[in-house]
Every structure is written in C-alpha cells, then in structure tokens.
Symmetry: C2
Subunit: 147 residues, 2 copies
C-alpha cells in the first residue's frame, strides 16, 4: 500500500472509529456500538482514500477478504437472516465498509439500516445478540489475525 497519510479533521484519520478488533499496517476492523444494530462492524482503510476504486488490485482483494471474514463469523455465530454490506462515505469520505447482521425482528428490516423504522426491535432478541458480541469479537480477532 502506498505511504499512509492523514487528513486533518477526518474522523477516521483521527480516531479508530469503534472498538478495535483487528489492526494491521493497512487495515483495521472495529465494532460499532449501536444499540439498534449491535452486530455492526466496520472494515476501515488506515490511509485516507475516498473511493473503492482508489485501491490497487491487491488492496482491493485484501479489503474484501476482511469484509468476507467478518461476514462469515457473523453468520457462524449469529445466524442473521441477511448480512448487509455497504461502502458509502458521503459524510466521512475515508474508505470504510459497513458489515451489519440483519434480523427479521430488527427495527428496520427489510429496509436498510438507514431506512424508515418498521417496528420496535424485539428486546429479548436484541439482548441475545448483544450478549453474544464478546464471542463474536473474540472469534473475529482470531480469524482476522490469520486472514
């Protein structure tokens, strides 16, 4: 990867962006503390690039291996009805991927997490996902270390 650079005022240049699960020279994976969507992780490029197509082929493949690994671990441990992936960056144009486990009982399913609220999330189901997060974090850290 090319020489890292930081952009003053960029939130993802200046902060981890969540609880740090994995960190290497070029990428990091963080957990996002979101009460509505507890099973929410981000794969973040350490250097400041704004678009996916700013990556070279090796970087692109590495990025998607990390996204794939997060998705796999969430499927293994949480059995979501769907996993949602997105790289938007309209507010924070520093390349990062959202990886979010979705459930039929969650507050916005089948809408995107940015869509309209559909219902109050089932509190017991939400609590069960939140309770499983330390295990998800631990398995993710192990798996990403070898990814």
């Amino acid at each position: 990867m090319t020489v890292a650079h930081r952009v003053p005022g960029c939130e993802l240049c200046e902060h981890d962006g969540g609880r740090l699960i994995h960190h290497d020279t070029d990428w990091r994976v963080v957990g996002v503390d979101d009460a509505e969507f507890p099973a929410y992780y981000r794969v973040i490029c350490n250097r400041h690039v704004s678009e996916f197509s700013d990556l070279d082929p090796a970087e692109r493949e590495r990025c998607m291996v990390l996204v794939d690994t997060v998705e796999r671990v969430m499927r293994e441990l949480l059995h979501p009805v769907k996993v949602n992936l997105a790289s938007l960056g309209n507010l924070t144009p520093h390349l990062h991927w959202h990886v979010v486990a979705r459930f039929a009982w969650d507050s916005r399913f089948p809408q995107p997490i940015w869509g309209a609220v559909q219902r109050a999330a089932d509190p017991a189901a939400l609590g069960a996902v939140a309770a499983a997060l330390p295990d998800v974090d631990r398995r993710l850290a192990e798996r990403l270390h070898y990814a």
Copy 2:
C-alpha cells in the same frame, strides 16, 4: 462457478433486473432506470446465492473487479462527489451490488439513497446526468467486455 440454479419467484432469477449492459456466464451488469438517481447500476450474480461470503475467492475477486470497473467509468464520465456501493438483498436475497453515483445536488445527499429526502434534486444537473447515460452505458459495455 458452481452449476447455476434458479429459484422460482426470485426477481433476479426471472428477470435481468434492468437494462442489460454486460453479460457473461457468471455475472451481469445492468443499468437501473431510477429518475431520482439516474447513474445507478447493479452487478448481479447470475446464479442464486444470497450472501457475498457464499462466493469462492475467484468469484469474489471477479465480482469486485466488475464493481470497481463500474465505479471507475462513472468517475471518469460523471465526476460524482462520491460513489456508493452496497450489497443488501433484504427484499431480494439474490446477490447483487448497487453502484450509485452521488452528487451534492441530488435529492438525498449526504444521506444514503434509502435515507430521508433532503431537497428537490437540481433539474438541470439531473438532466445532464441522464443525458450522459448512453455514453456511460457504451463505455461500460466496452470496459466490462475486457475486465
């Protein structure tokens, strides 16, 4: 890629899903006719798989080469302020990527295209993007043919 199969009732098994720009054995790229977001393409897996992590590594890389190519052509010809990428599939769980060029003047920027309306889109700017689409489609078809 493993043997293709179709799921009855799946919209993306039964229909192209938009105006067909590129088609090969395993993948297709279509343009989405969306008046609010005219520069909107989808990269669609021909066989019915629901999650990104259902792909093997070669399929994953091929998928993201296509997404990257669509993004590059949109950046070259349309100069969006941001490109948004997403694989959601909550309503249609057949693997497809949304690739959408975003502009500061569009109706929902900086919200995701699924977020709240922010303004009426600038009609002249919207018309200019729509007018450029035949060129985008043509360059995409060429570039994807060799991708």
